[in-house]
């Protein structure tokens, strides 16, 4: 499951926020904040990550460097799972 975190999150954003296509237009470094997610969207993303990967996102971790791109989410989830 951890092999394809980026693909999983890309598909989630494509289905729930862009609402069409496969999300291939989302580059790995694209800021979600600038293109696809508002603040409520980030809360939805956090819930998705917690439920999908069984992690708990701490308040102090609600940061763009953890959540605001495919690359950032991938690195963050991997760190959480390894902890």
């Amino acid at each position: 499951m951890t092999d394809n975190i980026k693909a999983t999150v890309r598909a989630y954003i494509a289905e729930n926020f862009i609402m069409r296509g496969d999300g291939s237009e989302i580059a790995e470094t694209d800021s979600f904040m600038e293109k696809h997610l508002d603040s409520t969207g980030f809360l939805e993303l956090v819930t998705f990550l917690e439920e999908t990967y069984g992690i708990a996102v701490d308040d102090e971790e609600m940061l763009p460097e953890n959540l605001d791109s495919l690359n950032n989410v991938d690195a963050y989830v991997r760190r959480k799972l390894a902890a």
């Binding site: 904040m33 508002d38 603040s39 809360l43 819930t47 959540l67 605001d68």
Partner: protein, 328 residues
């Protein structure tokens, strides 16, 4: 613009001229809407009080109808201050307690069900509020639920998205039921409804769509909160209004607008918004507000995030194509 010149002074206005300008505009606006007067819901806060006073200046007290619309979680001072303002303005007014309507529609039940998902012991005698966190320090905005049991002990947890949305949706009934009542009286009297957002609220989307965001005219949407307070003093409104602290008056625990929504108290938020609108850099804003440059940059980012996040609140219904014959 030098660093030294940035501060509350940038928000100074000629109150007499502004009152005259808004009054003239309001007469014109109400006339063009083909209404005979205006409805103002008085919360006891500075925004609605100033709007009521401006309406009386523009149209005279006989063409202004006031409503006091408290519910079970309203502060006891809300209706008292609203009554004081209505009496001072010499307008006809009516108090309608909307608590029973909110009970019937399920407002409190939906809210409390969501709260119990987070705090299972929550029940009779407990109080609640939501506070915002994250954005002012450069993080992603999120919300915490704070509850207080009858013994006065407080507990706090981050709100999961579903519970957050359900609590907000339930409490939005309050603003929407108020607006329903305002439009009943507006229809009955053939009046226009006044919306009372100040610039900070309007710009940052601090209103409920089809609730307090719904109105026929919005007389102070261009004025920063600091300027609204200046008008309140100029218009001679009661001291209790001129010195009031902005609250949401929506949750049972006392809740400032800054802890619910804005990153800073309104005095600082006004200056930050003005500075952002006038292309003042974070480095120039920071010393004026006693912030670090990084913190000032976070405030600007938060302003932009809220504009993006609340675009939907301002949006008209979207049509597949324009209907050219209808001009709005």
């Amino acid at each position: 613009m030098t660093t030294n010149s940035i501060g509350p002074k940038v928000l100074d206005i000629d109150c007499a001229a502004e009152v005259a300008r808004i009054s003239e505009w309001m007469v014109d606006a109400v006339s063009k809407l083909n209404r005979r007067g205006v409805i103002i819901a008085l919360s006891g806060g500075v925004d609605s009080s100033v709007c009521g006073a401006l309406a009386v200046k523009a149209l005279g007290p006989k063409k202004v109808f006031g409503l006091l619309l408290p519910e079970h979680d309203s502060s006891s001072t809300s209706a008292e201050r609203g009554t004081e303002v209505a009496e001072q303005l010499g307008i006809e007014y009516r108090l309608e307690h909307i608590g029973p309507t909110l009970e019937a529609i399920g407002c409190y039940r939906w809210r409390d069900d969501a709260i119990r998902n987070v705090f299972p012991d929550y029940g009779a005698g407990w109080k609640n509020k939501i506070i915002i966190a994250g954005g002012a320090r450069g993080g992603v905005n999120f919300f915490k639920l704070v509850v207080e049991n009858p013994a006065g002990e407080r507990f706090e947890k981050r709100l999961p998205i579903r519970e957050y949305l359900q609590i907000v949706a339930a409490t939005n009934f309050k603003q929407r039921i108020r607006k329903t009542s305002e439009y009943f009286h507006a229809d009955r009297l053939n009046y226009a409804v006044i919306g009372t957002p100040n610039r900070l609220e309007y710009d940052q989307g601090f209103f409920v769509k089809h609730g307090d965001g719904s109105a026929d005219i919005k007389p102070i949407a261009h004025l920063y909160k600091t300027q609204v307070y200046a008008l309140a003093r100029h218009l001679g409104l009661p001291e209790s209004v001129c010195n009031s602290t902005p609250t949401t008056d929506t949750y049972s625990l006392s809740q400032g607008q800054d802890e619910f929504y804005f990153a800073l108290p309104y005095q600082q938020m006004d200056v930050a918004l003005w500075a952002h609108n006038h292309q003042v850099t974070p480095a120039d804003l920071a010393p004026a507000l006693g912030l670090t440059v990084e913190e000032a940059a976070h405030i600007y980012a938060d302003i932009e995030a809220k504009r993006r996040g609340t675009h939907y609140l301002h949006a008209r219904p979207v049509l597949p194509e324009a209907v050219g014959e209808i001009h709005v």
